[in-house]
Symmetry: C2
Subunit: 395 residues, 2 copies
């Protein structure tokens, strides 16, 4: 259970783990590569389950769809939040039951909905009349949840604008959906890498107000989808997972108490991605060049063999700031601009973020980019500038 | 030769071309997909050759490394600017001679330089002492050119900060390089999709000043690399290619005249990427959803089956604004936000750019995104959100 005195997320985790170190020592894989420790994924799954006992966990497959991770989570009893037919197939290949899969993308082709329904998927997201029409036509008898707009404050990778509709529109759509024979619910997303556990409170109050309107019309809500947002440990300290569990439980009790204690208690769903796999991974990268632009330049430019287009896309606008270890840590350091290996000026990882790295850093040194298990491999391009996609290994 | 009355780039080109239309009609390829008309690539190669008769053309492979494009350009007599070992191998597979390949990335692993040199590549870029050390060690007897910093004004995809060093540092490095037995030169890049033909003038003046310093020390410069920057036709009109040729020829004559007319005339190099292949391609994409966020919303959200992570990465910060055709063009239109199909809020193509699309637009409609032959396929992710990489066809 949640422990208020627990340390922040990732604080007690020493990366790379021994298992990752051993794998690299034994196999010497060429850089750049990501190595994911499955034991950390299992620990995180357990910690989140313990912190949010009332919620079913639907892993956000997009965070890292490695077959080994999906198979582990199937074994642990996880459900799955998918964004596409490709992710449905990956889950089924890993042994997931179709009934444990939620098609959480609000933007789906009609034929993809039909395919998912045929495969046995019965849970779908939407946020518009047109998408509901598609679900009515292609996914009869499903559980459909409408995503509402949220502010996304306090999140390092906000998700506020593209998805969701106004709650009043959502109520109308859910009423229609219920009349068409669907079980209905609501979802929201507080933004990825959400640093403030209390950010679930506002949306839950909105959902409660929506549910009261629906109940007045005789519609019994079946699902409350809390979305994701649970963090990994990057440069900035984030609260421990128990704090998220406690804040969410309190908000659920405050806003949805009577409903949650009643006979028609809706299913509570959480969709962690980053939290489960982010801290489980370490990306190993070789320094290619350390240079200065002029003799007067104080800052060095450090170019790695991994960049924005080979896995580190979340450094866009320097949103996600990874911790970086080098073989020279502890020695004198100085300010750097950190960049990737391509001939693209956009491929700069950190400029404003004021990273400092050892003065002794040289080409050939291998740096460890910590907590890179989420949103890296799949963001990798097929071969921009002729560099191959990021390789990954699960240990 | 350059014709001052010629229309702007792309003005007389009607996309999709008949060949592209015929291919799509005959094959009905699933969306999203890119179709590239090789005849346009050949026309562009000829037009640039005619406009810049003095320059050798080194195709920037990163713009589109499709084997069909590389083979065509080998046939036409093009040379190649590459960013990696992967691109060297692609050129060699397409039949290019190693002597026609320039390794233009200033960030290279030592072992990759050694490999390139072993393959017969003899032209290399650098912009720092450390990189020159690698070239001295692994690529003896080469032509090495030092890239200088430029302002990159007037470019839609600027390249100013990551590459290049101060000209005074460049002179020192080139003097060292010459002493180590290399032939030496200078390069710069005015920024990709450069709208102003006069932007080559400033850097050419800098190069001329550098060359005078080198000549005083007895070093004869062997290469002037003009970089790329030649545009495709996106939403904004750009000058015709002859205007670029004329402006560059005038600047070369003004700043480097005596040298260019002397016995040791350096090789003039241009590295077009976007100009050769951009306007040759059309991306076909299906509308997945058209929605509003509330009943009061004036702007519709139009979601396509292609986005930032499946080829349209250059819409980042709405830098490159593609022209879009729909089956309903000519009918009443209204403002839209245009977005991709993934569960990522970053995957919004145009929001501030104020795109208008027909009110009649519906899911299932296929839209044509014009001039997408450059910097699309290779920017595509390996499978973000489970969506496959962008397919492409050359006709």
């Amino acid at each position: 259970m949640a422990d208020d005195t627990a340390p922040p997320v990732g604080a007690t985790l020493h990366l790379p783990t021994d298992r990752i170190r051993r794998f690299v020592a034994d196999n010497d894989p060429p850089t750049p590569c990501l190595v994911v420790d499955l034991a950390i994924v299992a620990e995180r799954y357990q910690a989140l389950s313990d912190s949010l006992t009332e919620a079913a966990i639907f892993y956000a497959v997009k965070a890292n769809p490695a077959p080994e991770i999906l198979r582990l989570l199937v074994e642990l009893g996880s459900c799955f939040d998918v964004a596409s037919v490709g992710e449905i197939e990956a889950c089924l290949r890993a042994g997931a039951q179709p009934s444990t899969i939620s098609y959480g993308n609000t933007i789906k082709k009609r034929k993809d909905i039909a395919y998912a329904h045929e495969m046995g998927v019965r849970m779908f997201a939407f946020d518009s009349a047109q998408e509901l029409d598609k679900l009515n036509a292609e996914a009869p008898g499903s559980t459909v949840f409408c995503r509402i707009l949220t502010a996304g404050e306090g999140a390092d990778w906000p998700l506020s604008r593209k998805f969701g509709c106004e709650p009043l529109m959502a109520v109308d759509l859910l009423r229609d959906a219920a009349q068409r024979g669907h079980r209905v619910g609501a979802s929201f997303h507080v933004g990825s890498q959400q640093r403030h556990p209390n950010q679930w409170d506002g949306p839950l109050a909105e959902v409660a107000a929506m549910f009261r309107m629906l109940e007045r019309d005789g519609v019994t809500p079946a699902v409350v989808n809390l979305g994701g947002g649970f963090p990994s440990r990057y440069s900035d300290v984030v609260p421990e997972i128990g704090a998220y569990g406690k804040a969410i439980r309190n908000s659920v009790a405050r806003h949805l108490g009577p409903l949650m204690n009643g006979p028609d208690r809706p299913l509570l769903i959480a969709e962690p991605g980053r939290y489960l796999v982010g801290d489980a991974g370490v990306l190993f990268s070789e320094v290619v060049l350390v240079s200065r632009k002029s003799d007067l330049d104080e800052r060095r430019w450090v170019y790695l063999d991994v960049g924005m287009f080979s896995g580190l896309a979340e450094t866009m606008d320097e949103a996600i700031r990874y911790r970086i270890r080098t073989p020279h840590d502890g020695s004198e350091s100085g300010p750097v601009v950190l960049a990737g290996p391509t001939c693209d000026s956009v491929d700069i990882l950190y400029d404003k973020a004021d990273y400092h790295l050892p003065m002794a850093l040289r080409p050939g040194d291998v740096v460890e980019i910590l907590s890179t298990g989420a949103y890296t491999t799949t963001y990798s391009t097929v071969g921009f500038n002729g560099f191959p996609p990021l390789k990954s290994y699960c240990v």
